[in-house]
Structures are given as structure tokens and as C-alpha cells.
């Protein structure tokens, strides 16, 4: 079975380490916050100017002056700090954020990512995504392995305009956990009940498959 949105988030959360400063993108990445393993502390960075993002507010706590990068009302965790946008991206560009998780339309074997624009169709802008992928060393991309029509999103060359070049090393899809190195995809783990053949079939870029591909456990 392909992973649910929650399971993708749950698997990503296992990559969190105690003391990590983490930026979570909009969509599935946001859900990672719900699965922080017990016994570790992480601090969430929201690029509109908040380090130490808390949970959503109660109706009584809603504050129009306190939102996250997805423009949702949020609260501050204990130990939070507030800063302006230039400071926020100094943190990001300067490589101070330990882990960035974000979505994508496509990634390719050279670590290129396309996530912000479908020409002639969807033009909303890159927001902070280009800064995040250029600034972070440790990035996990979450996305579905293939489109609804079965077209692979793990390609030999991205077909859409790029968000970043050569910056992605790890991809977690609904079918597999994949590492990108030396111009190839490497299959690390598969979703429970998903066969290697199925993953190979839906991966257009070159995929290296080791003899033993462990199944993710939930």
C-alpha cells in the first residue's frame, strides 16, 4: 500500500534529531510536526519571521499578527523568537537551519527540483522555496511518486522550470525512500506491501536497487 499523507510525515519525522532547527513547507511537510518522536526537542522555523512555532491557537488565542509561512494563524512555543524577513533568510541562506522538508512536482537524478511553476497553467510564485533549497544542506522532498495518470515524478531530467539545481539528496514518496547521489536514484526503503518492481516501473530516472530493500515499519 502506498503511504498515506500522515505516514509520509511519520517517516520523515524519524529523520529529526534532538536540537534540530527545522523548516517545514506547506502541505504534507507541515504534518511532520505532529509526529516528533518522544524524548527529542525540535524548533520549527517559519520563514515569515518566527523561530519556535507552536500549535494552532484556540479560538480565544487567535492573533491576526501571528501567522506562519502558510498564512495560517499559529502560536509561539516557549523559547520562540521573532525577527524580520531579511534575518529569517539570513538563517536559511547562511545554512543555520538543520533540516528543510518541502514538496515538489518533480526531482531528477542530478538533484534538481521543480516545485513552483507549471508554465501556462499555475503561476503563483516560488515564495521562499528557492532560498530554502539553495541554503539548506539537509533537505527532504516529500511528494507522490507518480501523477494520477502514472507519470513518474522521479526523472532523468526535470521538465518544469527549476526551483533549485543539484540541491536535493533525499526524497520520500508515497512508495519509497530514495537517496540521490552520483547522478542516480538509490532505493533505500519501500512502503509496506509495495514491491520493488512497482517502484522501478514508476521511476523514470536511473534507479539503483540494492539486493535487500527494507520495508518501512509503522
Amino acid at each position: 500500500m502506498a503511504l498515506s499523507r500522515d505516514q509520509i510525515a511519520q517517516r520523515v519525522a524519524r529523520e529529526l534529531q534532538d536540537g534540530f532547527y527545522v523548516n517545514l513547507g506547506i502541505g504534507i511537510p507541515t504534518l511532520v510536526a505532529n509526529f516528533v518522536p518522544g524524548g527529542i526537542e525540535v524548533m520549527l522555523q517559519s520563514e515569515n519571521g518566527l523561530l519556535g512555532m507552536g500549535q494552532f491557537p484556540t479560538e480565544a488565542e487567535i492573533d491576526a499578527d501571528l501567522i506562519n509561512a502558510g498564512k495560517q494563524t499559529v502560536t509561539m512555543a516557549i523559547g520562540a523568537s521573532i525577527f524580520d524577513s531579511a534575518e529569517s533568510f539570513a538563517m536559511i541562506r547562511g545554512g543555520h537551519v538543520d533540516l528543510t522538508v518541502l514538496g515538489a512536482f518533480e526531482v531528477d537524478v542530478n538533484g534538481n527540483i521543480a516545485s513552483y511553476m507549471i508554465p501556462g497553467k499555475l503561476i503563483k510564485g516560488m515564495g521562499g522555496a528557492m532560498d530554502l533549497v539553495a541554503g539548506a544542506d539537509n533537505i527532504i522532498v516529500t511528494m507522490t511518486h507518480a501523477s494520477k495518470h502514472g507519470d513518474s515524478k522521479l526523472l532523468s531530467n526535470c521538465s518544469l522550470p527549476l526551483t533549485g539545481k543539484g540541491c536535493i539528496k533525499k526524497v520520500l514518496t508515497d512508495l519509497a525512500f530514495i537517496e540521490i547521489k552520483e547522478g542516480k536514484f538509490h532505493l533505500l526503503e519501500r512502503a509496506p506491501g509495495v514491491s520493488v518492481d512497482e517502484i522501478v516501473k514508476l521511476t523514470e530516472g536511473e534507479l539503483v536497487v540494492p539486493t535487500n530493500v527494507p520495508e518501512m515499519q509503522f
Binding site: 498564512k71 499559529v74 533568510f89 503563483k124 515564495g127 528557492m130 532560498d131
Partner: protein, 236 residues
């Protein structure tokens, strides 16, 4: 106006001198921390052909989006422009020129503009459509592109509190692009929720010093929320 007192008495006075085809830099992220009354004044004045520099362009009936129906905006420099149907229509039809700029690059362009730095190199955008036509250079084996600073004829800013000298304090994430915008305007106009006497703000806690501020006005704010998300009260 006497000495360092920056307070003006009307929005008309606050935006006096704004004329067609000027560049206006605006603070705000989404609808949070936007100078909503200064935007309304631009709409009322009917100034046209504006180049706007702002992270977003509001929604259809609030924020900078209100300047769209009368075609007051000629060009916008922004990082994210979703959530606005009229914007999308004008962009797709070519009536509106849109320069998509990565959010961190946009913040740094404003910061650099206000700090007298004409351009800077960044890795953001290398190998993407953003890099087209820009100077590329390697430092320590990594590729960077040259991004130019932005300054505006006007900067419009929303702060929480100010003293009459224009020293500013922002609140929560309504700070966002406002401090950088404040530095980058030839004329910087700030609207706030409260104006106090000089000496009442703690100098250690001022976010933007008054030297950047030309005009100051106290307003009342709707502070519309774009994505109202809550958790149940009893859920810890």
C-alpha cells in the same frame, strides 16, 4: 512638523507627493502587517502606473489587491501571488507585469537598497528562471548570481507602536518585510496603532530607528486573517 516630529494628521498628507509611475515598496506578508490604510489612500488618490514591490499582492478585496480593479499597478515584484483571481487574470492577459523574486532575495534586495549596497551575490535561483540575464560568479567553488538592490520613491510600512520621532516597534510576525521596506523608501510613510511621546519607548527595544521614517500616522486596522486555523480548546 517641527524638529524630529514625524507625525502627520491625515492620510492625504501621509501620501502627498505620490504620483503616477512611481515605485512603492510595501511591508507585509500575506495580509499580516500590511499598511492597509495607506493602501486605501493610494486607491482613493487613483495613482496609476505604479511599480509595487511587496512579498504578496493581497486578496481580491483587501491589501494591495484593491489597487487591481482600477489598473493602478503596472508592475509588481513579489515572491508569491496566489489567492487573487483578478491578479491572475491581469497577469495571464499581460496587463500586469510580474517579476517573481525569491522571498529571501526580495528581503535582501530591500535591505541592500536601504543600506546603500547596489547588489549582492546569492546562491538562491542559480540554474532557475530567476538567473536568466544575471551575472554569475563562483566563490569557493560554488555558483552565485548577482541580484540588484531595490529602492522606492515611497515605502509604506505598518508598525505596532511608534514615538513621535518615528522610532518603531513591530508586533509578532507582523514585522516581516516592514523593517526592510522602511529603510528603502526615498519617502517612508509609517502607520501605527499607537503613537507615544519620545522617551516612552525603551531604546534597547526599538526595531527600526526613526532616521528611516519621514511621515507617521496613527490608524485603526481591520487586520483581516487569511487562513483562520484553530485547535479545539480542550486539546492540549
Amino acid at each position: 512638523m517641527a524638529g524630529f516630529n514625524k507625525v502627520v494628521s491625515s492620510y492625504e498628507e501621509a501620501m502627498a507627493g505620490l504620483t503616477d509611475n512611481m515605485t512603492v515598496i510595501s511591508g507585509g506578508f500575506g495580509l499580516c502587517g500590511i499598511p492597509e490604510n495607506l493602501i486605501s489612500e493610494i486607491k482613493r488618490k487613483g495613482t496609476k502606473g505604479l511599480t509595487l514591490v511587496s512579498n504578496n499582492c493581497g486578496v481580491d478585496d483587501f491589501g494591495l489587491g484593491v489597487l487591481l480593479p482600477d489598473r493602478q499597478i503596472k508592475k509588481i515584484v513579489a515572491s508569491y501571488v496566489g489567492e487573487n483571481a483578478e491578479f491572475e487574470r491581469q497577469m495571464m492577459s499581460g496587463e500586469l507585469d510580474v517579476e517573481l523574486t525569491p522571498q529571501g532575495t526580495l528581503a535582501e534586495k530591500m535591505r541592500a537598497g536601504g543600506a546603500g549596497i547596489p547588489a549582492f551575490y546569492t546562491a538562491t535561483g542559480v540554474g532557475t528562471p530567476v538567473a536568466i540575464g544575471k551575472d554569475e560568479r563562483q566563490f569557493n567553488g560554488r555558483d552565485y548570481i548577482l541580484e540588484e538592490a531595490i529602492t522606492g520613491d515611497f515605502a509604506i510600512v505598518k508598525a505596532w507602536k511608534a514615538d513621535k520621532y518615528g522610532n518603531l516597534v513591530f508586533r509578532r510576525t507582523a514585522r516581516n518585510f516592514n523593517p526592510m521596506a522602511a529603510t528603502a523608501g526615498k519617502i517612508t510613510v509609517v502607520e501605527v496603532e499607537e503613537i507615544v511621546e519620545p522617551g516612552e519607548l525603551n531604546p534597547d527595544e526599538i526595531h527600526t530607528p526613526g532616521i528611516y521614517v519621514n511621515r507617521l500616522i496613527q490608524g485603526t486596522f481591520e487586520k483581516r486573517i487569511e487562513q483562520r486555523t484553530t485547535r479545539p480548546t480542550n486539546n492540549k
